[in-house]
Symmetry: C2
């Protein structure tokens, strides 16, 4: 068993790291690429699941955040700040805690889902609700970080994409080559940008002989890129990609076009079907948004757009444990109790078979 020390150690030569950069680590990265034999048989392509939910805070955000927070410390900052109600805030808070930095998280006031914030609060994040919507919160953290010595770690921080590109490196190493297709959910579009960057770097260095076709999938209710215009009130059950005006819009389109891939959308129904299928067919429990990758592959395959037998990596961006509310919803059922006798148990087993 090889000892894994985290991304800044493993990919030091590929990242903007110098001798003053603290080699911050929660042993992020090195996430499994799980073969999906049952889905592969169903779909006629060879499917692998890059399960990013097994990063330290439960999502792919750790890849970019470890670098962003390390660089903040290198630059002498004692505080990181972001606007987020989800995975970004948790990741920022964890790495800040590790380095003894403060983390401040602005959230829109109003219907606050504390459950989503519990993780960030555990890591010691200071949560500040502002009387406005998410866009206003984001504008505020930008303004404050420009005028004061606090470091913005939202996705406009350029180190985020640098760190996230390491996932492409890992996929290449795990497969022994680049896959034919790389499918992933598209929300803010930073991740498709980062993967494409990573694949191109490995290709340019001669480590792999090709770059995969990039397939990005937005949720239909938040499909700004597919529709070609920002969406004021994006709506989807896949909260992690409920974004109406992606920050990395242009680079996402470029990644899809240059690679011969596409950006398409999937409905909430298709996302939830894929979400259940991943757990029931392969034993992998991801966030609803993560399942957009498989939902998109199923849709593309049905439309005859994927080569039979092709090697397809579906990126699962977050851990299903992050959003057990949705898991409960899709499994809502009345359980009928039975007497505590062997006969009753056996009969129930036979009945439901």
């Amino acid at each position: 068993m090889a000892v894994w020390k985290g991304l800044l150690h493993a990919y030091r030569d590929w990242l903007p790291i110098n001798e003053r950069t603290p080699l911050l680590s929660l042993c992020e990265g090195n996430t499994p690429l799980i073969p999906a034999p049952n889905l592969s048989a169903q779909l006629g392509v060879e499917i692998f699941l890059k399960f990013e939910g097994l990063n330290p805070t439960g999502s792919f955000k750790d890849r970019g955040m470890v670098l962003a927070v390390a660089k903040a410390a290198e630059e002498g900052s004692s505080t990181v700040i972001c606007a987020s109600t989800g995975n970004t805030s948790a990741s920022a808070a964890a790495y800040a805690a590790r380095l003894g930095l403060r983390s401040i998280v602005l959230i829109p006031d109003g219907k606050i889902a504390y459950g989503k914030l519990a993780q960030a609060m555990m890591y010691g994040a200071e949560i500040v609700p502002v009387q406005g919507n998410f866009d206003q919160a984001l504008e505020l953290v930008r303004d404050v970080s420009r005028a004061h010595p606090v470091t913005l770690v939202n996705s406009v921080n350029p180190y985020r994409i640098e760190g996230q590109k390491t996932a492409a490196f890992e996929v290449c190493e795990q497969l022994g080559s680049a896959p034919d297709y790389l499918a992933l959910p598209v929300g803010n579009a930073g991740n498709i940008t980062a993967y494409y960057k990573g694949f191109r770097e490995y290709h340019k260095a001669g480590i792999v002989q090709s770059v995969p076709r990039m397939l990005g999938f937005e949720a239909e209710g938040a499909a700004a890129i597919v529709r070609g215009e920002p969406i004021k009130e994006p709506e989807t059950i896949a909260t992690a990609i409920r974004i109406g005006n992606p920050a990395s819009w242009d680079s996402a389109v470029r990644a899809a076009q240059e690679s011969g891939g596409a950006i398409d959308s999937v409905t909430d129904e298709e996302i939830l079907a894929a979400y259940k299928l991943l757990a029931r067919a392969e034993g992998v429990f991801c966030e609803p948004a993560s399942a957009a990758s498989l939902a998109g592959v199923i849709k593309s395959r049905a439309a005859g757009q994927l080569l039979s037998g092709a090697r397809v990596v579906c990126v699962l961006t977050g851990n299903g444990l992050k959003d057990s509310d949705v898991a409960l919803q899709v499994n809502a059922l009345e359980l009928k109790s039975i007497p505590a006798t062997q006969e009753a148990v056996v009969q129930t087993i036979l009945q439901t078979n």
Copy 2:
């Protein structure tokens, strides 16, 4: 980056595997051993965190379950059964799904916490509430599995401990030797038994030159071994170790005695303090029960029982995302909203500093 294919591949020679055993895998194991520099400085011992929450279903149970379910399939079983309301059921259901087996989970009727069952239901487990308590449910699955062709995967299944011992192998490989102390939570006492077995096997094979002192920590309200008698109504916030009559009682005592370690207890307050400390000092979010290991180390160190500078591995058995209710409880606070202006944000940041 080395490619990790899961425990049955990696430790094939150390496990009861033959050519008919399916090499089932969700890429379990290979969990990080995270150095804890901040805690180490505070406590004067060198602390490492074996973060088992990054297993595929979020707990150490995957190590034993992958083998138990593979052996069930090898033996021709088409159904696995267990009594569980937590990590065991999730793990059993995931691996059963992967191999196309049915998984049946008996739970005590009554106050059913669906949140805890959501994960198992996602993987397709069939949940059967029985009109009785947990002990009766456990007795029923034992009886049914004896009389019918379904395989019991509760902790009495001997393959569970065999699989779990691989965590000790990993710790040795990650450290380059055995640690001086191995601290872990004790509930059913299977895990301390398994770690000790793993360390002894590596020691016997000459891979490591010593076996660590085993330090097991029960929750005070469920401290059957410490008190020397079963506890009828065990109570602790650390639900994963709320067990009043540990199945592996004798072997746990033997592990502690033979290794020169101990089994002690920690209070819920000590557990919660350690739970928060892990997140805030090191950025690691574990289940409340997991924190019993660090709580115990802090207690032992205060009592002068641990050698200064010793290398101590604390096993964190499960992911904090499994129990976000407790995370919310310990962080319960009223958040006061502020106006959406730069001035208000800056003032808040300065105030709370």
